[in-house]
């Protein structure tokens, strides 16, 4: 089962594979020579699950690459269903871990099957749609879901469960939204190129965000022309995937500090994107934001603008070396196609303007 992100027929805006490390650097320069280059390398950085690959997929999508064609999305059925199973497993495991019983006996049966034997091929059978949905609606599972900050769960959980009737069918073809919503942990580094006018090409580099993956970012640090740093607004109550017990915000701030103050990036335009704004607004409606930030005024905690302002300050405070006038801060909801398109356009404009200024 292949899962194609990009058309196998090489087209405009093709998906480039990394060249070998030695031959990797045709432009060979540092940021200082960037304006003379025909290729602008933009790095998407950020800790794990901050939305780098989601934005990457969106950019591919509105450049007509990859997931636009039904045929290519068919290859992603496996991944979508794997996501459904992962989510279901994590929820069931969480009910055990949090000592919340699954209430209905038939849902307990389903849970047992999920843990022990269910595989992605089984989901072709529409009866699973009902069973999984019934499990999802079980009071025990819902209670675990309300406490999802206590374990690892993908953001797409609710979306996938609400769309089970489509997914659990032998005629299922993932929609573009399905693909955007699907979580795949990026391993290593991947990139794509597309024209941005003036005979220039933009090369967008997507990377993995977990601790071990970040060590690989360094391979790109001296060829970079702009950095887009993503951080998730909705992670304020979550812990790390690779280290369950370490607060994600702290990790994001630490990574941001290391990247933004890196000497190689002094002269490079830097964009800080606060992603998952949609999730964030939903989350602060039910969860206390000020509980996690002692310096924040409790009275304002239901006001997303004030919260984002506070987060912005927190991140900008980390900047000690980088000139502030080449840093731009934006919010984003990467799963929203229109919003991604608009924000990415702004980011592109910002980077191009900075390039010209040099």
């Amino acid at each position: 089962m292949g899962n194609i992100v990009v058309s196998p027929h090489d087209k405009e805006g093709q998906h480039h594979m990394m060249a070998t490390p030695t031959s990797n650097n045709p432009n060979g320069g540092s940021a200082a020579t960037a304006k003379n280059k025909s290729e602008i390398t933009v790095l998407l950085l950020g800790a794990g699950e901050s939305g780098k690959s989601t934005l990457f997929k969106q950019v591919q999508f509105f450049h007509g690459v990859g997931i636009t064609h039904d045929q290519e999305r068919i290859e992603l059925i496996e991944i979508v269903r794997l996501n459904v199973l992962e989510n279901a497993k994590n929820l069931v495991a969480a009910t055990q871990h949090l000592n919340i019983p699954i209430e209905q006996p038939e849902n307990r049966e389903t849970a047992k099957l999920i843990i022990n034997s269910l595989n992605t091929n089984d989901l072709e059978d529409p009866s699973w749609s009902k069973r999984l949905y019934s499990l999802w609606k079980d009071a025990g599972i819902q209670k675990a879901y309300e406490n999802r900050e206590k374990f690892q769960l993908y953001d797409s959980t609710e979306y996938l469960f609400e769309n089970l009737d489509r997914i659990c069918s032998d005629k299922y073809v993932p929609t573009v939204v399905d693909v955007i919503r699907t979580r795949t942990k990026t391993i290593g580094i991947t990139d794509m190129k597309f024209d941005v006018g003036d005979g220039k090409q933009l090369r967008l580099v997507d990377v993995g965000g977990q601790r071990n993956e970040r060590r690989k970012w360094i391979h790109f640090f001296n060829t970079v022309d702009a950095v887009v740093f993503l951080t998730s607004l909705s992670e304020f109550d979550l812990n790390l995937y690779e280290d369950n017990g370490y607060w994600r915000v702290k990790e994001s701030l630490r990574v941001f500090n290391e990247v933004v103050n890196n000497a190689l990036f002094y002269k490079v335009p830097f964009v800080l994107l606060f992603n998952k704004r949609d999730l964030f607004e939903k989350k602060i409606a039910t969860k206390s934001f000020s509980k996690y930030f002692s310096g924040f005024n409790e009275a304002e905690e239901k006001n997303p603008v004030a919260c984002i302002e506070y987060m912005t300050k927190l991140f900008l405070n980390e900047i000690t070396e980088h000139p502030l006038d080449t840093v731009s801060v934006k919010t984003l909801s990467a799963i929203d196609h229109d919003n991604s398109k608009q924000v990415f356009e702004e980011v592109k404009q910002f980077i191009m303007t900075q390039q010209h200024r040099e």
């Binding site: 899962n3 595989n119 391993i187």
Partner: protein, 549 residues
């Protein structure tokens, strides 16, 4: 020993050694007795024996033997699995042999008939009771305790980075984290070199110049170089002081099968010697006083059976006291040590409690005359020890085998459910696609998953796995390791692996890295999604795989 046969029966025929009710019944209800009542049934301090005792003893022995057979089959089947390895196969077998000996000695006497069961075996049984009953518990407990000490020591020596990670978590102030990161890279002495040579991302904090050179350096770094780093490991001998080395050797010995085999053999020989000495003394006393002190008709009588006298309980008590003190000390040490994931400590404590209950019951029953002289001839209370042995076999062998089987079932289910990783596995097993995947992974900077997978395949074929497992952990799993893998909750995974390795001084189990392997395959699905677009051959292979389903 022919002296005994000439000894007048009248002296043993007295009402204290046999309950009058029993004697009456043997005359009124002869069919439940094994032989018709006559003067000869009262020889050597014995009383008439019933079929009831015979059938109960046979039944209990039968149940015990069946259970032991099942346990042994399960044990042989699951011998390579973690749950069995953690409890040490030789120890389980040695304990089972001890239990079996005890059970046979106890039950056969009732079954064969006390009259014919050779007297020397009875006296030997009494001399062997203390070690046979307590040694399994003592050795299990001492092995658990010394493994615990050994691991504490290893932890001290290697100063695991896992600990520092948790330390990192507990510090709330964010400004300190940078320094800690730095500290982590200088942490354990044996790994210090590894960290500094692999320029982990954290080193970029130390300054712009170093990060630039690091970047270029790393560009040329190939997997070859990573492998060389491995050779730079420091030996155990260099880190440990002489005293610690000796201490570590001592702990290792105390937890090894050499120790408990030695204990069994030595204690058996000692008790055999004691048996000979006590028997000799008894003959001496008999020659001068004319009465048997411990066993009616003497320790070494082989031609017929006999009964004990209460005085042998004194000899038994002295020996038992020594073993009980030993057992209590070991169990207290066990209570003080940390809990293990395999529940060995819990098992040990439960079995000790059961043993103590059995011993108390045995003592109480033995001191109530109506039980020893009447009830015992219908329900032999000595069978308490057989029941104890049965429970020990169930808790100490059958349950671990069950856990092991249960885990294996879960694992196999787990393996089949991920058809995606199944497919990756199929591709990796084929030379050409493996080469293509390796090449693509190298160019995408995620060769570590492929290398780790290969390494795990090698590991599984190895005979001597211990060093390989340590190397693997150092190369792929420690935070900041040269080829650190992207796995969830890495600290917990690492702690779990360590515990599995530490639970035995023997070779670590073959399936030690199954979870990691699974994660590698899972990680590679992302890589494959990208590769399938680029490579016709892989695309075709994948199509074949899906077609076969």
């Amino acid at each position: 020993m022919s002296l005994n046969s000439t000894f007048p029966l009248a002296s043993t025929f007295n009402s204290t050694s046999c309950h009058p009710l029993l004697l009456n019944m043997s005359i009124t209800n002869p069919m439940i007795f094994r032989e018709e009542f006559s003067q000869s049934s009262l020889q050597y301090g014995l009383c008439p024996e019933t079929y009831i005792a015979l059938s109960i003893a046979s039944f209990v022995l039968f149940v015990y033997l069946v259970t032991t057979c099942i346990a042994m089959i399960g044990l042989v089947w699951q011998r390579k699995k973690t749950h069995i390895q953690a409890r040490s196969l030789p120890l389980i077998i040695a304990n089972t042999v001890a239990n079996l000996t005890l059970v046979l000695l106890v039950a056969l006497r009732v079954i064969v008939s006390k009259k014919y069961y050779p007297c020397f075996l009875l006296s030997l049984t009494f001399m062997l009771y203390p070690p046979l009953l307590t040694l399994p518990s003592i050795l299990r407990g001492s092995r658990h305790y010394f493994l615990f000490r050994l691991n504490l020591m290893k932890k001290k020596v290697f100063g695991t980075s896992v600990d520092e990670l948790s330390e990192l978590q507990s510090i709330s102030s964010m400004s300190v984290s940078g320094k800690l990161e730095h500290r982590r890279s200088n942490s354990s002495s044996s790994l210090g070199q590894l960290f500094s040579r692999t320029n982990s991302f954290s080193t970029t904090t130390s300054g712009p110049t170093s990060s630039t050179t690091a970047g270029q350096d790393n560009n040329n770094a190939s997997s070859q170089e990573f492998l060389q780093i491995d050779e730079k490991q420091t030996n155990l001998e260099d880190i440990l002081s002489r005293r610690d080395q000796l201490l570590m050797r001592f702990y290792e010995f105390m937890a090894s099968y050499k120790f408990f085999i030695t204990v069994y053999v030595v204690s058996f020989l000692i008790h055999l010697g004691l048996w000979a000495i006590v028997g000799g003394i008894e003959i001496g006393v008999y020659n001068s006083s004319g009465s048997w002190v411990f066993v009616e008709s003497g320790f070494f009588e082989a031609s017929h059976g006999c009964n004990i006298t209460p005085k042998i309980l004194i000899v038994l008590g002295i020996q038992a006291a020594f073993y009980l003190v030993w057992m209590f000390v070991i169990n207290i040490l066990c209570i003080l040590s940390d809990r293990d994931t395999f529940n060995i400590k819990l098992e040990e404590l439960i079995l000790t409690v059961i043993l103590i209950v059995a011993l108390i019951l045995y003592t109480i029953f033995g001191s109530i005359p109506v039980i020893t002289t009447l009830v015992d001839y219908f329900v032999p209370y000595v069978l308490i020890f057989v029941v104890y042995s049965l429970l020990e076999t169930i808790i100490g062998v059958i349950l671990p085998v069950y856990y092991s089987i249960r885990d294996t079932m879960n694992e196999t289910n787990h393996d089949s459910d991920k058809s995606a990783s199944h497919m990756v596995k199929a591709l990796l097993k084929e030379k050409k696609s493996l080469d293509k995947i390796s090449d693509f992974a190298r160019r995408s900077y995620c060769l570590e998953d492929v290398l780790a997978w290969k390494e795990i395949q090698n590991y599984k074929k190895m005979k001597k796995r211990k060093q390989a497992a340590l190397d693997f952990i150092k190369t792929y799993l420690l935070p900041g390791a040269p080829l650190e893998l992207n796995i969830p909750k890495s600290a917990a995974t690492l702690a779990n692996l360590r515990e599995q390795m530490d639970s035995s001084t023997d070779e670590p189990p073959v399936n030690l890295f199954d979870v990691v392997e699974h994660q590698c395959l899972f990680n590679m699905t992302d890589l494959l999604n990208r590769l399938v677009v680029k490579d016709e051959y892989i695309a075709q292979k994948i199509a074949e795989c899906t077609g076969n389903k």
